[in-house]
């Protein structure tokens, strides 16, 4: 494996035996269901897996959850807080698991973080260098779902739209529905721009859970040569 940029001091990823697989997508894109199905599939075939996601580090996850409740962090501070959370999980969970030969399933990775920062005005070069510490995954699958479908799925799950997933802090619109659609379009545009640079596999997420799972399986099987 290798790093996107300068990597982490003192770590040589060449000999890592495991595989890092990332599923990206908005809330309501079916990410978590697909991660669960993929995990079952991999474990049934005898692969050990570890799940990681955003805001799950020992170091700052509590503080990030608190900060999420009130809009108290400024833009750069929030970006860096998330980067800290990511780095902590990278060094303390992802890398040890990869060394030990696990398949690491990441429910979101640096791309969501980068897209969120960039649509909020962060400098692209700054964000890219910041996340130069990240490992290049073996496979990145982006579940692309139309904003209209996302709204429907979010309503079915929670009845309300999430403040952050609607990008309300950007002031795109005071109407949360309107803001959600516009924000998700901005994020998708950013993902498609990143697709070329980072080589994602785009998966049409407007389909049934079953048919998406079949496509993901086929791609993972190819990767692991089962």
């Amino acid at each position: 494996m290798k790093f996107y940029g300068e990597g982490l001091p003192g770590i040589d990823p060449v000999e890592f035996a495991g595989k890092l697989i990332v599923i990206e997508g908005a809330d309501g894109s079916g990410r978590s269901s697909q991660i669960d199905l993929l995990r079952d599939f991999l474990e049934s075939r005898g692969h050990a897996t570890v799940n990681v996601g955003l805001r799950r580090s020992t170091l700052v996850s509590e503080e990030l959850n608190d900060a999420k409740k009130g809009n108290v962090l400024s833009q750069t501070t929030r970006s860096l807080f998330y980067a800290t959370d990511f780095a902590d999980q990278l060094e303390n969970r992802i890398i040890p698991a990869l060394r030990a030969g696990y398949v690491v399933l990441a429910d979101r990775y640096i791309y969501s973080l980068m897209a969120r920062d960039i649509v909020r005005g962060a400098d692209r070069g700054w964000v890219r260098s910041l996340y130069g510490i990240a490992l290049v995954p073996a496979l990145v699958m982006y579940l692309q779902v139309s904003p209209a479908q996302l709204v429907e799925r979010n309503f079915r799950k929670n009845v309300i739209l999430d403040y952050w997933e609607a990008g309300m802090d950007l002031g795109l619109s005071r109407d949360i529905f309107d803001s959600f659609i516009r924000y998700q379009r901005l994020i998708q545009k950013e993902f498609l721009l990143m697709q070329k640079e980072y080589g994602f596999t785009v998966i049409n997420g407007n389909r049934s859970i079953r048919s998406i799972a079949n496509e993901i399986r086929a791609r993972v099987e190819g990767l692991l040569e089962l």
Partner: protein, 228 residues
Amino acid sequence: MNARATTELPGRLIAVEGLDGSGKSTQLHLLQRWFELRGLKVFATEWNSSVIVKSATSKGKKRQLLTATTFSLIHCTDFADRYERQILPLLKAGYLVLCDRYIYTAFARDAVRGCSHSWLRNLYGFARRPDLTFFFNTPLTIALDRILSGRPQLKYHEAGMDLGLAHDPYESFRLFQERIYREYLAMQDEFGFVTIDGANTIEEQQALVRKLVGEAFDLPSYRWKIGT
């Protein structure tokens, strides 16, 4: 550096840098008093003092959860919070903002821990460069003596114990400070530090600092505009 960090603002940013025990905080305090007594709009801020990020920082340090990268990122987060909520708004409001340690502290310390120079410079690229940076160049032995003569309880990271340089905290602190000192010296020209000889008396140093500040800025224009 990001384009946003170079636009002209009405306030002025003055930073002091140097080793622990270099006397920089004393000098900054005296400069602050001078400004206050002249009725100037002044605000002083310290490294590592943001409220929001404090709990995470102290948890990480206490449980020794931090690596070179997360140590660097969490301090940068802390700095960003202070920068966006205090330093930048005050500069926009026309204050003289005094920083006891600034981004160069991170450049020196995190580089010693193994972070790359270019990654660090980019990381702090959102922060504007100070209008004036004083580097208190105090001989290493004097700075070390000021800190260590009282046999203080050195904290784990403060002593650089995470670098594994020595088992004894005092010895580790010495080796750690020596490496930081070398990083500072190497940055002098790159960032245009104004170097103050820390071997001189407090009064001599302060007189020079005040003279240089008076030459660099039109101080009367930073007076409070409202009646007192």
